[in-house]
């Protein structure tokens, strides 16, 4: 954190809400138990980083940080720390907070002071959402905790302290909450709370008293007793006075805080006209928006007001009623949560109770209505606040309304005037459209800091990210002004719009929000003369209509010329300062240079120099394009979804994909969160600048390329030669090489518009041109010139028939790979290491797969709207997929199995009962089908089809029941999928139980060795020596050997695979695992961007091979069936290490970083890592060499017989 110091006055910093909370929490705590969850993870990350840097708290000690296995674990650890006398805290949100509930009841019941800092986030219901609302904190309002809500970044820092002091004084634990993303991730210039203020508010005497009450054998006590009906109730009432006293204490702390800092707060704070007749009540960041609207409207002559709720629990009814002006006639209480089935949302009910209870006899109550707004960070704007006030002005205001959506189902929504704006003219408002990782966001955060620290201006930055991990767009919303900025909503009237990626021009309407006379900056390689006619027509029209100023810079060339590679951040930042007029240009440039030296200094002089060079080069290359009235562009915007998509995909998912989801009415959505699969195919994202091109003459048809392709964009088919008739002119095929397919044509085709250009396929291609070694059987070539022809080729390819699955030998990769993938075009990172395994799974078993997916990367690229990569075959079959939670996935999947087995059993029972009617032969075949291979499954499907036909004709209840169950007679493949965070940590207990159950489930652990989805926090799968968040000094312990634990059961099939190292071993493992009649567990090494490798340029497979070659990752298969044959169940598939582990460690930044940050630790940990590898290998070799007599472990399936009918 950069702090702007002044000699006497307040200290300012430009930070986000999470850092603001961490700033105080770190200083006033001694023990922190942490666990990552969005959007609170950065609080824990800050604390962990500060601890690793040796920063000290108020009492001059470095807080102890312990990462736990789940939020449940974190709350338990905090509970223990509190009981034994430490000042302890944790940070969480959403499902994490739910997992803490049991301990929260305990902590409150035991009156243990602590503060949990919560970035309020939506709870998963019909869908998961990482964004903000109050459903999580409302779900814990009955735990007995104090609840203090901050509405801004400044309040987040202030309330972190006020809640801490109030908790210590009152004895109640507190939740300090602020809105997820809107506040937790908003960057703002705020005043820091000085350490002196913290010292003044926190009474060391109280801390000493607490420590004196702590558990110690030196003066023992008994807590956590079990009580009977005779005692419990009274005990529960015994703490009433503590609750009763808490609001006064909190207000007193706020008053003392005001004396220390000059910032004054009230438990219920009224803002607005003293004689207002209409008042809204709400809490969180929406209150800031409401204040902006109220002040604006009052300036225009309205008489309205607002009550900001700060202390939500204990709810001080008297103070609430007192906060309302006596003139009030109508009140609207806004809740940022939904409680279906309740009489009203919680804050509404609290306010209603307070008013009713406070009503003097004979007086009528003001009108009180409740409404919902802003669920899952849905925008909440001053226009919506105005709509709420307009509603209150109606003769009969709508109650239980919604605002911000169009509810055309139950008609709850209020109409909103979209033109209403309160944006002050003296605020500079800038929008930046960037590509993820191009540095746009970082540069904008830096710009806010520069302005925050060099000028008296207030500054605010908020950043909107894509739902995809590859080729994602970021939109930065920046405001600068002389007054405090309360605009906690997105910019819709921008003075300055910058497009950092020329490709966005044809896809997004970026000028929609530009005000007349505003400035548009475009990064483009085109020259002054070329640019205008190459703009899309609507862009030209908007520029002309708005009389905008239009500037262009070839930022990519400037960046390359300055040694910055593809990073255009500094270049675009300089343009913004040069054009926006926020600061005088020279002053701004000087400030940027100063900031570059400060930001990059520790990364070395070379990094500083290249950035400084970029600043100078930018100014020399920026030019203005005079507008002509000639609108002669390249046509309209590209559609987000292809026109051939089904209507729902086109109209609903397409609108979401276009970024206009807010326009969709309630009726557009399913009521239970069910969406169709096979939709990613309609989103042609054209991300790749280069795509693979097949050279059929060199190709040996090994199909390693299709195996490794993370996005299923390189595909193979084998067809009869006659089917090539009518192929487009550039469509390629070759004689199939496999003897079984003699005379047929082999086709390899790339989906040019879906490819991400990661080049993993090129990396693994073993076939080289004999004359020119650098040419392989596939080579990268520019996408744009090939786009149209390859679109046609792809279409023709899709039209070619799939080979009959019965004719494919799945033990050979080169045959198996022509199976149709039912997982395609995911939004995973380009070059992802996880998705090739999922694709393989769907090729082999997708048409009968039921997937339980733990929350994580795989649930995001698998199931984040708008589209899903899970697909269907020509018969309409494909994986059916659901994400329950992070922590319960194994149990969720086992539920699938139990349920499917039960329904199969019921179907079999009915087949037996109806055998006489449907025919004994058919019944016998249905009951005793061998479904071990594709032929068996196909035949059983045919039998079931016959059965269904017969059942249709029968009208009996049993026939109808069997009809609904008949499909269960075909074998279903249950897959439980998740990452290492789930399998090794939060879900381990459940996973262990499911493996022990003996049930036929298949578990696939996509092991990236780190919590990838939440940004790289250490898991128990993280290897020793790796730097990760929460392990800034390198992970000291070794990786947990999950496979070994599973093998200990003896009846679990276990495999450890790494596709990039040995793809045929991976294939074997999948086939064996699925065929094993008990539980199976596959741990799949998945290279990841969080390893500090360039996954997007195809190095992943190489890293996998290196990991295997040096013994870091062992390949093996443990098949209990082998024991039945008298063989050792364990087969070690890894060759002896060929290289020292250091070769691998130094090739990944997660390890290499440690040699730079802590070289001594690196030396020690790397040496231990080598001995880990050596001893593990020896142990596995020993296990493999043992000759043990193992009892058969295979569960025996009961034989089903049709009873002989007595009457016959």
């Amino acid at each position: 954190m950069e702090v702007k110091k002044s000699s006497n006055g307040p200290q300012f910093a430009t930070i986000d809400g999470n850092e603001a909370a961490a700033y105080v929490a770190y200083r006033v705590n001694e023990v922190m138990a942490i666990y990552p969850i969005t959007p609170s993870s950065p609080i824990a990350e800050w604390c962990d980083q500060w601890a690793s840097e040796g920063k000290r708290n108020l009492w001059d000690t470095i807080p102890e940080i312990a990462e736990m296995q789940s939020e449940g674990g974190a709350s338990g650890a905090v509970h223990g720390a509190l009981q034994t006398g430490a000042l302890s805290t944790t940070f969480t949100a959403s499902q994490g907070l739910l997992l803490m509930i049991p301990n929260m009841f305990k902590i409150a019941g035991e009156l243990l002071p602590t503060v949990f800092h919560v970035t309020a986030r939506t709870l998963a219901t019909h869908a998961l959402s990482i964004f903000g609302d109050h459903s999580d904190i409302m779900a814990v309002r009955s735990t007995g905790w104090g609840m203090l809500g901050a509405a801004s970044v400044q309040e987040t820092m202030d309330f972190a302290l006020i809640s801490q002091a109030s908790s210590l004084r009152s004895g109640l634990p507190f939740i300090h909450f602020f809105d997820g993303f809107r506040t937790s991730h908003e960057v703002a210039k705020i005043q820091l709370v000085p350490d002196a203020a913290m010292r003044a508010l926190i009474d060391d005497g109280l801390i000493a008293e607490r420590r004196a009450r702590a558990m110690t054998p030196d003066h023992p006590v008994l807590r956590g007793t079990a009580q009977n009906p005779d005692a419990f109730f009274q005990g529960r009432e015994a703490a009433n006075l503590v609750y009763a006293g808490c609001p006064d204490i909190t207000q007193q702390v706020m008053d003392e805080f005001a004396k220390q800092t000059g910032r004054s707060y009230k438990l219920f704070e009224y803002v607005g006209a003293p004689d207002a007749e209409r008042v809204v009540v709400l809490m969180g960041s929406g209150a800031e928006v409401a204040q902006e609207a109220v002040e604006h409207l009052n300036r225009k002559g309205e008489k309205i007001g607002l009550v900001k709720v700060r202390l939500y629990r204990p709810f001080d009814c008297a103070r609430f009623v007192q906060s309302l002006p006596a003139s009030v006639k109508a009140i609207a209480v806004l809740d940022r949560t939904k409680e279906p089935g309740a009489a009203g949302e919680p804050l509404y009910q609290d306010c209603m109770t307070a008013l009713v209870e406070a009503r003097p006899a004979g007086r009528t109550l003001p009108v009180l209505v409740g409404g919902r707004y802003g669920l899952s960070s849905k925008e909440f704007t001053p226009a919506m606040v105005k709509a709420v006030f307009d509603n209150l002005a109606a003769a009969k205001p709508k109650n239980h309304f919604t605002v911000g959506i169009n509810d055309d189902v139950s008609f709850t929504s209020l109409p909103v005037d979209a033109e209403f704006s309160t944006e002050p003219d003296d605020v500079v408002r800038a929008l930046f459209y960037g590509l993820g990782a191009d540095g746009t966001v970082g540069a904008n955060k830096n710009s806010i800091k520069i302005i925050g620290e060099n000028t008296p201006y207030c500054a605010q930055g908020y950043f909107v990210y894509d739902s995809k991990k590859s080729g994602s767009m970021t939109v930065s919303h920046l405001r600068f002004g002389r007054q405090q900025i309360r605009s906690s909503y997105l910019i819709t009237r921008a003075n300055f719009v910058a497009c950092h990626q020329p490709g966005f021009l044809e896809r997004y309407d970026m000028l929609r929000d530009l005000v007349p006379g505003g400035t548009f900056l475009l990064n483009s390689p085109l020259s002054r003369d070329e640019i205008w006619p190459r703009l899309p027509t609507p862009v030209q029209q908007a520029l002309v209509d708005r009389k905008a100023r239009f500037f262009v810079i070839d930022a990519t060339s400037v960046a390359h010329g300055s040694g910055m590679g593809g990073r255009i951040n500094t270049v675009m930042q300089v343009c913004f300062f040069a054009l926006s007029g926020v600061l005088p240009k020279d002053e701004a440039i000087e400030a940027i240079k100063k900031s570059i030296k400060k930001t990059y200094g520790r990364k070395g002089e070379e990094v500083v120099q290249k950035n400084l060079k970029a600043v100078d080069n930018t100014l020399a290359n920026l030019f203005e394009v005079p507008l002509t009235s000639k609108v002669n562009g390249t046509g309209g915007y590209l559609p987000p979804i292809t026109p051939d998509a089904p209507p729902f995909v086109r109209n609903v998912l397409g609108t979401l994909a276009a970024g206009r989801g807010d326009d969709l009415p309630v009726s557009a959505f399913p009521r239970d969160g069910t969406f169709p699969t096979a939709t990613a195919q309609f989103e042609k994202r054209n991300l790749a600048l280069e795509i693979p091109v097949w050279n059929e003459a060199i190709c040996i048809q090994c199909l390693k390329c299709t195996t490794i392709c993370p996005h299923a964009t390189i595909r193979a088919k084998v067809c009869d030669a006659a089917q090539m008739d009518g192929a487009p002119a550039t469509f390629k095929s070759a004689a199939a090489r496999a003897p079984e397919w003699k005379g047929m044509r082999f086709v390899l085709q790339v989906a040019a518009e879906d490819c991400t250009g990661c080049s993993l396929c090129i990396e693994v291609c073993p076939a080289r041109d004999k004359k020119e070694s650098k040419r392989k059987a596939i080579n990268m070539a520019a996408q744009e010139p090939l786009r149209v022809s390859e679109r046609e080729n792809w279409k023709f390819f899709l039209g070619l028939p799939e080979m009959d699955r019965r004719k494919i030998n799945t033990s050979q990769l080169r045959q198996q790979q022509i199976m149709q993938p039912l997982f395609e075009f995911s939004g995973a990172c380009a070059g992802c290491g996880e998705t090739p395994y999922l694709k393989l799974l769907t090729q082999l078993f997708g048409d009968r797969a039921v997937i339980a997916n733990a929350t994580g990367c795989s649930s995001i690229y698998g199931g984040n709207l708008p589209t899903t990569p899970y697909a269907k075959d020509a018969q309409g079959r494909g994986p059916t997929w659901c994400n329950s939670l992070f922590e319960d996935n194994a149990e969720f999947g086992m539920g699938f199995r139990v349920s499917l087995d039960k329904q199969r059993d019921m179907a079999q029972e009915l087949v037996i009962k109806l055998a006489g009617t449907i025919g004994d032969d058919l019944a016998n075949q249905l009951l005793h089908s061998n479904q071990a291979d594709e032929t068996g499954i196909a035949e059983q499907r045919e039998r079931v089809a016959v059965l269904k036909q017969k059942l249709q004709a029968l009208g009996s209840p049993e026939a109808r029941l069997l009809l609904s169950l008949a499909d269960n007679l075909v074998k279903k493949s249950v897959w439980i999928i998740g990452g290492d965070g789930w399998a090794y940590d939060i879900g381990y207990g459940g996973l262990d139980h499911v493996l022990a159950s003996g049930r036929k489930v298949n578990v696939l652990v996509l092991d990236t060795e780190v919590y990838s989805n939440t940004g790289g926090q250490m898991s128990k799968a993280t290897p020793r020596g790796a730097v990760a968040k929460f392990a800034a000094g390198g992970k000291p312990g070794c990786k947990k050997d999950l496979g070994l634990i599973a093998m200990a059961y003896g009846n679990v099939y276990v495999a450890s695979v790494a596709m990039g190292a040995k793809d045929d071993q991976t294939l074997k493992a999948f086939v064996e695992a699925e065929s094993y009649p008990g539980p199976s567990l596959i741990m799949a090494y998945s290279h990841c961007i969080a390893h500090g490798i360039a996954v997007d340029i195809g190095v992943g497979a190489r890293q996998q091979k290196l990991a295997v070659d040096c013994g870091q990752w062992l390949l093996y298969r443990y098949d209990p069936r082998r024991a039945d044959l008298g063989e050792n169940p364990l087969q070690l598939d890894s060759p002896p290490p060929k290289a020292p582990i250091k070769d691998y460690l130094l090739s990944e930044n997660r390890f290499k970083m440690l040699t730079m940050s802590k070289p001594d630790a690196a030396r020690q940990l790397f040496a231990r890592a080598q001995s880990d590898v050596d001893s593990r290998r020896k142990f596995y070799q020993f296990m493999q060499s043992r000759t043990l007599k193992v009892e058969p472990a295979t569960p025996v399936e009961p034989k089903i017989t049709i009873p002989v009918q007595p009457s016959a």
């Binding site: 969005t38 962990d48 990782a437 070395g604 989805n1013 940004g1015 990760a1028 961007i1089 940050s1157 802590k1158």
Partner: protein
């Protein structure tokens, strides 16, 4: 018996210096070198490319994939301080100086002049007794002339010499049209010593992957002949100290080089192969031979068989080649 020698103006106990190798990456090894009798140690090389690449790598790696997706806005903790090269190298120099009494010579490996040369000053500040500048350049650009290349080398030497007060030795390849001329110009440019010769990483071909794989093959004892010749030729013609590296395996090798005119002999491959202890054996053999042959000091030996002092000066030139060839033919013809 006096085994002392002066190299780069440094008074050394013996001519046996450990040359730059991975062994010196560990402090323990440096101590063991001193214990085994090494008179100085040249530390492993700090590469110019490494100086640049490390910084850029770290920066790129920390920023890769950041700010793309709301849940994972970054993937690594960002330490407040990076011990990037040269900080780590400088710390190593400091530690080495604190740990041993023998001179510590730092090694800078470069192929161009530029901003990096200021690290020579940092190395001096860290306490190094001298710098060995390993200029490593494979000229593959057909447009570049020999004069251009030599000019670049001289510029690097001038730049580095201008940065520091401690002596600067230059380690070179033998591939110059007229090495004698070039050596004189290096001397003029400020080189305090010449280390002959460096060994390049040579490309190899992996027959399994059909890829080019760089690797290094340790020098063989026969590699000694090249420095032997050039030291003998240069002795007495240059003010720069002369050190021999490549192929020094035994006391006999050391003696030959000293006789040719070396001020120091650098040991590397032999230590990797036989261990650091081997220094003591080499010193013992050196002393034994001198004892046997009644030499009182290394100073007495030094250059006594150099071109200017030997009985047959043409032995180091083409005439000797003719004779050797003729002798070889006669020998291989065998007795009638």
């Amino acid at each position: 018996m006096d085994l002392t020698t002066t190299y780069l103006g440094l008074k050394l106990r013996t001519p046996l210096v450990c040359s730059a190798s991975p062994l010196s990456q560990q402090l323990d090894n440096i101590k063991r070198m001193e214990d085994a009798g090494a008179s100085a140690v040249v530390l492993y090389s700090l590469f110019e490319e490494q100086l640049l690449r490390d910084r850029l790598d770290v920066e790129e790696s920390l920023e890769r994939g950041t700010s793309s997706f709301a849940e994972s806005l970054s993937y690594f903790p960002e330490p407040e301080e990076f011990n990037l090269e040269p900080q780590e190298y400088l710390a190593h120099v400091e530690r080495a100086k604190r740990s041993v009494g023998i001179p510590v010579i730092a090694s800078l490996n470069a192929c161009s002049s530029g901003g990096w040369t200021k690290y020579a000053r940092d190395i001096e500040v860290a306490g190094a007794d001298a710098i060995e500048l390993n200029i490593y350049n494979i000229p593959a650009d057909a447009k570049q002339t020999a004069a251009d290349i030599e000019g670049k080398y001289l510029q690097i030497v001038r730049d580095v010499s201008a940065e520091v007060k401690i002596p600067v030795a230059v380690k070179l390849s033998p591939f110059f049209t007229n090495f004698a001329n070039f050596a004189a110009r290096l001397d003029e440019a400020g080189a305090d010593g010449l280390v002959l010769f460096n060994r390049f990483y040579q490309p190899d071909i992996d027959l399994e992957t059909l890829e080019i794989t760089p690797n290094i093959v340790p020098s063989s004892p026969s590699a000694l002949r090249l420095p032997l010749r050039w030291i003998a030729l240069l002795f007495g013609h240059t003010d720069a100290s002369l050190a021999a590296t490549s192929g020094v395996y035994s006391g006999a090798d050391v003696l030959k080089l000293l006789l040719a005119g070396a001020d120091a002999t650098m040991l590397c491959a032999v230590l990797l192969r036989d261990g650091i202890r081997q220094i003591r054996t080499i010193e013992r053999d050196l002393a034994a031979w001198m004892e046997k042959c009644k030499f009182e000091s290394v100073g007495q030996l030094k250059g006594s068989l150099s071109q200017i002092n030997c009985a047959n000066p043409s032995a180091f030139e083409r005439a000797q080649y003719m004779r050797a060839l003729t002798g070889y033919r006669q020998a291989s013809a065998g007795p009638p």
